[in-house]
């Protein structure tokens, strides 16, 4: 079934990912799982024919909606005057909160996200929606929306985490996980340090901003074409807001122009308002957010403050950790409960903590409600830990890599249970890190860099290896299920549909591979069609890296059902044993006899075999008891590590990433080309989060970095000139996942932490590695320069003290 050689060839740098052997394998065996097939839409992407919401020909008479946003971040609305909006050229209708007959709160888990707000309501953030308008063109709607006259009684906003924290303002109660006696663990340790780290948030910057088209149906329902990771939730909320049954709403998502978590719950509000407008006007209505409005009014990655006290021995081994994670959640709960939980679940990263207390606080501020973003709190938890490791290393005077290695989980001496009680069953990291240490020539480069740094006054180089261990499963148990629908038509072509959405991650490609593999047919035989709530109902969001794990299994179940019917039919029809029936190479072999898949299917149809099936899957084994903070929230862990080298200018704070080596564990890869794409892209996105991507609000709560002119995601020259990516060979998942693969969507983002640690390493070199720099995230040139300047001052002080 699976060719082991396939997983070991995969290395990328500047060379094409798919080698020729791969293509031959495919032609000969039709065993296409494991093959680096290109993205199912690649040909259409490059031709400009892949359609996004705003590209689909809209029905005749489609109106364009836009939104009126609050211009203050805190206060009460006194009056709303929309006369000029109504009278503006091209305007067709205006919609306000009082017209909503159904549910008015679209909070995904907890209430707190009003669809719009009205007179006497409190404004919770700058950019909150107050009304909507629709017109015959988008520009007219946008212009009209700016003509509203809204009076506010302004309040005093909490903008920073500190402000919300000092006012004890929270969106959800705090949660604690603890293991052993943390206090005595720290007190009895040889060394103790404490500190604080600020971790910035991140704008998703999906290239396609939020977009939706709603078409009223004759049953007084709604057909919705949208850009959402969560069509089922869109369906539910539209139905509730419109006060109609779920079955009257059909939500369709063919593809998104990027999402990264930003279209998990953030699409709900726009979708519901546009549906209301379509109902009100009985016309199709479309809305696409302008970039700056999207950046202003949709949630981001949570920013965090990490406050810690840690005890450790002379080798830098943990005795106890007391960690408080203060998350800036914005104005509402949204997904913050689960996000901060995941930050807490990842505060150990890959390291064994004999005793730990980890507390997560959900701080409320008058800013847009922060939301899911690739990693979902995990990156902040891991960064908090890697910062502590870095400080320990300088404190005991060792290479941070040695501190990391000394603390890895291992099966020996029971160092294998996390602070939330899950036992690590597959120890991938120690070997993976050793392999990377040697393939990246870490040690020899370390000594070259030391020499360089001694010889250079202005330029300094830095090097760091950081691991990632990332838990796979939704931490909300019921979301760990999926459905799929497979039809085999009488020409032998296969149509596949499942509950997962395509946002560029290659999900449709992988699942089509899985179905093709079951039937032993060519990949092109299987067409995966747009995700629709009327095809596969009650689906979970495509999130938590779970897309392939869940939907791949469901699709396999559906395809296997049909296959088993076909085998039974073959046994009866040809009077053979089931073992004699084989599906491969686009043919069905039955003992001596062989038919093309098409002919065989035709025959089965004539003999009245049901050629359609649905499949369902639920993840086994997982549970978590939040009342005691213990359980097994994850089916398994995905692992990886990266080595990054940087050079920085101590006079300007500018730096460049020179080389990156990555080894990542995807179990057995279903599609190595897609997986490498996720790893490279995730790494760069994580690097951006920690380097150039800085969110800045002013004291009134206005986001100042609300355009790509101000908010800088990595561009092409930020891609390291040497960028080696390897999939860890021969490392099938121990758990029975789809083809023993592992999830790959989120974990690689955290490989970008190696860049931040390498910058810290470079700054630390100013002190001869005696001190850890004070460097928050993101490490903008300004922050790096400040850290360099402080390091110089610390050196001066320590020399003065030594002389005294």
């Amino acid at each position: 079934m699976f060719n082991n050689e396939k997983s070991s060839f995969v290395r990328s740098n500047s060379a094409p990912v798919v080698n020729e052997n791969q293509i031959q394998d495919k032609a000969e065996s039709n065993q296409i799982v494991g093959s680096g097939i290109e993205h199912e839409s690649a040909m259409r992407h490059v031709a400009g024919t892949a359609a996004y919401v705003d590209d689909i020909p809209a029905p005749e008479g489609t109106l364009h909606a836009y939104f009126g946003f609050a211009s203050v971040s805190c206060g009460r609305i006194k009056t709303i005057d929309l006369e000029e909006v109504r009278r503006a050229p091209g305007v067709f209708a205006v919609l306000t909160l009082d017209e909503v007959t159904g549910k008015t709160d679209v909070g995904a888990v907890f209430p707190g996200d009003p669809i719009m707000i009205g007179p006497n309501d409190e404004v919770e953030f700058h950019g909150q929606v107050i009304f909507a308008v629709c017109a015959s063109s988008r520009t007219e709607a946008r212009r009209a929306a700016r003509l509203a006259k809204i009076e506010y009684e302004q309040g005093a906003p909490d903008i920073s985490i500190e402000q919300g924290w000092s006012n004890r303002s929270f969106v959800r109660p705090s949660h604690e996980q603890s293991k052993g006696d943390t206090e005595s663990g720290i007190k009895s340790a040889e060394h103790e340090i404490s500190g604080e780290l600020y971790i910035g948030g991140q704008e998703h910057f999906y290239l396609e901003s939020q977009a939706v088209l709603c078409i009223p149906t004759e049953e007084k329902g709604m057909h919705v074409i949208t850009s959402s990771q969560n069509p089922a939730e869109n369906q539910k909320l539209i139905a509730e807001v419109l006060n109609i049954p779920f079955n009257a709403v059909n939500v369709e998502v063919r593809r998104m122009g990027g999402a990264f978590g930003g279209k998990e719950t953030n699409s709900n509000q726009w979708t519901c308002i546009v549906a209301l407008m379509a109902l009100k006007t009985n016309r199709p209505v479309k809305a696409c957010l302008a970039r700056s409005d999207d950046m202003m009014s949709t949630g981001k990655r949570h920013h965090f403050i990490s406050r810690y006290r840690v005890g450790f021995d002379k080798d830098g081994r943990f005795n106890g950790l007391d960690l408080a994670l203060l998350a800036g959640c914005g104005n509402s709960p949204d997904l913050s409960d689960a996000i901060v939980d995941r930050a807490m679940f990842h505060a150990d990263n890959a390291y064994f903590l004999p005793a730990a207390r980890v507390v997560g606080h959900r701080v409320k501020t008058n800013t847009v409600s922060n939301t899911a973003f690739r990693g979902f709190g995990g990156p902040q938890g891991i960064l908090a830990m890697e910062n502590i490791i870095d400080r320990i290393a300088r404190h005991v005077g060792k290479d941070p890599l040695d501190i990391r290695k000394a603390n890895f989980y291992s099966a020996d001496r029971n160092r294998d249970v996390t602070h939330y009680g899950q036992k690590i069953e597959q120890h991938v990291i120690p070997n993976l890190v050793s392999r990377l240490e040697s393939t990246s020539a870490y040690r020899s480069r370390r000594s070259e860099i030391n020499q360089f740094n001694q010889e250079n006054r202005v330029l300094k180089r830095g090097l760091a290896l950081t691991p990632v261990k990332f838990g796979i499963s939704f931490t909300v148990q019921h979301l760990n299920q999926a459905g799929a629908l497979v039809h085999v038509y009488t020409d032998g072509s296969i149509q596949l549909n499942h509950g997962g959405t395509e946002m560029g991650q290659g999900l449709y490609t992988k699942i089509a591979q899985i179905v093709a593999d079951v039937f032993g047919v060519d990949y092109e035989t299987v067409m995966c069609t747009a995700t629709r709530t009327d095809k596969v109902p009650n689906s979970s969001p495509t999130a938590a890296s779970s897309g392939t794990d869940l939907n791949g299994m469901a699709a396999q179940v559906a395809a296997e059902k049909i296959k088993q019917r076909l085998i039974r039919f073959a046994c009866n029809h040809f009077e053979i044993d089931a073992e004699e029936v084989r599906f491969s190479g686009g043919r069905v072999a039955m003992g001596e006899k062989s038919l093309s898949f098409n002919d065989f299917v035709q025959l089965a149809y004539r003999n009245r075999v049901n050629l359609s099936a649905s499949g369902h899957y639920k993840t086994p084994k997982i549970h978590y008891d939040r009342s005691i903070g213990k359980g097994r929230p994850f089916l398994y862990y995905a692992n990886g590590a990266a080595v990054s080298e940087i050079v920085l200018d101590t006079l300007t704070g500018e730096y460049k990433v020179l080389r990156v080596d990555i080894c990542h564990d995807v179990g057995r890869s279903i599609n190595p080309a897609v997986d490498i794409g996720q790893i490279e892209g995730g790494f760069i996105q994580g690097m951006g989060w920690l380097t150039t991507e800085e969110l800045v609000w002013d004291e009134d709560g206005v986001l100042k970095t609300s355009s790509p002119a101000a908010y800088k995601i990595p561009s092409i020259s930020d891609t390291p000139p040497i960028f080696n990516v390897e999939l860890l060979p021969d490392s099938p998942n121990k758990e029975a996942t789809i083809f023993r693969s592992k999830a790959v969507g989120e974990p690689p983002l955290m490989l970008g932490i190696s860049v931040w640690c390498a910058i810290r390493d470079g700054v630390s070199s100013i002190s001869g590695y005696r001190f850890a720099p004070e460097l928050d995230a993101p490490a903008t040139p300004e922050r790096v320069l400040r850290a360099c300047t402080r390091m110089k001052v610390m050196m001066k002080d320590s020399r003065t003290n030594a002389m005294a």
């Binding site: 400009g48 561009s715 300004e782």
Partner: protein, 483 residues
Amino acid sequence: MIEFLVNDKVCAVSDAGANTTLLEYLREDLRLKGTKEGCASGDCGACTVTLACLSSETQSLEYLSANSCMTLVGSLDAKQVITVEYLEDGSDLHSCQKAMVEHHGSQCGFCTPGFVMSLFTYYKTHDVAAHETLKEALGGNLCRCTGYRPIISAGLHMLSSGNPDKFERNCDETIVSLGMMKQKTEIPVIVENEKQFFCPRTSDQLAQLLLTHPEARVVAGGTDLVLEINQSLRDIKTLISVSSVEEMKTISISDGHLIIGAAATFSQFQSTLIDNFPNLRELIGRFGSLQIRNQCTLGGNIANASPVADMPVFLIAMNTTLTLRRGEDRRTILIEDFFKSYKKTALKDSEFIEDIRIPMLKNRGTLKLYKISKRFEDDISSVCTAINLEIKDNFIQESNIVFGAMAEIPKRARHCEEALNGKSWTEETISEGMQALEQDFSPISDFRGSSEYRLEVSKNLLLRYFLERNSTPESLIRITQYV
């Protein structure tokens, strides 16, 4: 009427579209949905198209990439717009498209048409692919999914096919079409109710139009002005484009000056400028993106009078003069006197910059330029500086120090210059100069940098200048020179 080609179709605009961007026109009027709106501010490249322009000198087509969101249809006079839909040859993808598929260069696919068009332009303008030029070609295209590595691979491998592509085969036909459009003598114009867009072809026409329409806004590259249309959603009543005024695009050297026409785009003048001022290479490489440099002009960068504009910093340090023209009257002004206060210049009503004259000073080799920003590519400076010290017998004879993004206009650091002039060329003197910068500037704090940072970096750049002139180049290589 403004006439142009979109792919192989002749398009004419006469009574609509005075404020319309090419992106809007493609998507809404022509229903060509392959070109995407990512930001509508010229920062992401998702809307990139290729423009083919007929060179009046060589009578051949010059291909360049452009952000269609920042291009007004009125400025397309006698150009060919090539969109992603037109690249396929029959049912065959173009080499650049094939390479993107083979190298897994697309994930979500939304930025892909823009990348494909930048790659196509690169394909048409390069015989050999190289990392450095390729990155320059793609620096204005943002991708949030791939991390760029596979796109770089695609770009490096797409040039191998030897057969002429369909554009080469159709070249003559296109030249004839565009040539006929260029021959029409009346001034191309759009009149849309109250709004007008003029596209004069000579500077006399431009001067006359400005006298007749003193309220008119002059649009060159439009890379700032168009934001008023597509971000602020404002109507601009009268626009006069300089993009077809060929005589204002000339570049020449005479009387010890490099003379650049105000309407010459960066892509047109940058190689001559760098040849004469090699130390400008890095700054220009970090100036905007290729799409921006293909559109924006030196005249626009000056007349726009932004406090964060980079080129005025260099031009002030070189004691550049500007030729200003109003009707038939011309006057010369030192660029330092051109900037009055925030966004205010010495330009009178109906007056425009005709050319820019940069003295070819002997000591220009010791001029060094520095740009600091969060991101290397396509980012606005938190500090930009030009420093030139004349050293003789270990004494500083004359200093010439200009900073951008440190005040409401690009400005000389007079106190710093005074602190250095006549002093010995030592690190002590430099640190006095660094201190003096505090008297010269009290910069603002914003999201690009705090006041403290701007000041500290400014001081450090002066120190870096000193160290660079006194050490071996390797030990002070700039971060941007690591590739």
